[in-house]
C-alpha cells in the first residue's frame, strides 16, 4: 500500500529500509508549495487512479531492485487535501554506497512524475480551483490536441 490519506511518517519509511549493509540513505520529499510561480495556493487536492498507482509504484520499486543491486526502497504518496508545507510524496532509498542511493531516489521520483496517475488541483486564497498540468502551469481550459 503506497497510498495514504494521512500525514506521511518519514521515520516509518526510514525504518523500512534500514539495514546494516546500507551506508547511504537518500530521501526525497515533495511538499506543497506556495512560491512566486504559484498564485496564493493554500492547499492542493490530490486525486488518483488508485488501483493503477499501486501497480505502477510496485513496478518502479521492482525496477530499482533490478538496476541497483542491494538497494532498498520505501515510499508513500499522499492523496486528499494537503496544506502548503506538508509532504505529498516521500521516497527513501538505502544502498551500500551513496551514489546508488542518490541515483535510485532520483529514478523513483522521475518515474513517478512520468508514469504514476495522480492529479492535483490547486486551491487558491481567492477561492478558485485550478487543475495543474505536468509542466506546472494551470489548465483552466481543455487542452485540445
Amino acid at each position: 500500500m503506497y497510498l495514504t490519506r494521512s500525514s506521511i511518517s518519514l521515520d516509518a519509511l526510514l525504518a523500512e529500509v534500514s539495514s546494516p549493509e546500507c551506508g547511504g540513505t537518500c530521501v526525497f520529499l515533495g511538499t506543497v508549495r506556495d512560491g512566486p510561480e504559484e498564485h496564493g495556493v493554500t492547499a492542493i487536492e490530490y486525486s488518483a487512479y488508485e488501483e493503477m498507482v499501486e501497480g505502477e509504484l510496485g513496478r518502479i520499486v521492482a525496477e530499482v531492485g533490478e538496476r541497483w543491486a542491494g538497494a532498498r526502497v520505501a515510499l508513500r504518496h499522499r492523496l486528499g487535501l494537503i496544506p502548503v508545507g506538508e509532504a505529498s510524496i516521500a521516497i527513501v532509498t538505502a544502498a551500500p554506497h551513496r551514489a546508488q542511493a542518490f541515483e535510485a531516489c532520483r529514478y523513483v521520483i522521475e518515474e513517478v512524475k512520468r508514469r504514476v496517475p495522480v492529479w492535483k488541483k490547486e486551491l487558491r486564497a481567492d477561492g478558485t480551483e485550478v487543475w495543474v498540468d505536468p509542466s506546472g502551469r494551470p489548465t483552466t481550459r481543455p487542452a485540445h490536441v
Binding site: Y49, K113, V132, T139
Partner: protein, 88 residues
C-alpha cells in the same frame, strides 16, 4: 448471410479534469470487435455528453497499465482516460 459482428463492452473510467468534463467517473461503452483503445476513445468523444472536450489522443491505460492508442481491447476490459499526470 454475413456473420454478425461481435461486440464488446468496455468499462471506461474518467479521472480529474476529464471526469469533470463528462460529469461522471465511468461509463460502459459498446464497441464492435476487434477494436483498439483509439476506437474506444472515438466512441466516447462522439457519444458521451461533454466528452468532446477530452483530447483526441489522451493518455490511456488498459487494465491498469499504460498503453498506446493502437492497443487492442477485449470484452470486459477497463480503459482509463488519463489527464496529463501531475503527481509526486
Amino acid at each position: 448471410m454475413a456473420p454478425q459482428t461481435p461486440s464488446g463492452t468496455i468499462r471506461v473510467r474518467f479521472f480529474a479534469r476529464y471526469a469533470e468534463l463528462v460529469g461522471r467517473a465511468e461509463a460502459a461503452v459498446a464497441v464492435p470487435l476487434p477494436a483498439t483503445v483509439g476506437d474506444v476513445v472515438r466512441r466516447v468523444r462522439d457519444q458521451l455528453p461533454g466528452a468532446h472536450d477530452i483530447p483526441e489522443r489522451p493518455l490511456t491505460a488498459v487494465n491498469l497499465r499504460h498503453v498506446k492508442l493502437d492497443a487492442s481491447v477485449r470484452d470486459g476490459d477497463e480503459v482509463a482516460l488519463l489527464p496529463p499526470i501531475a503527481g509526486g
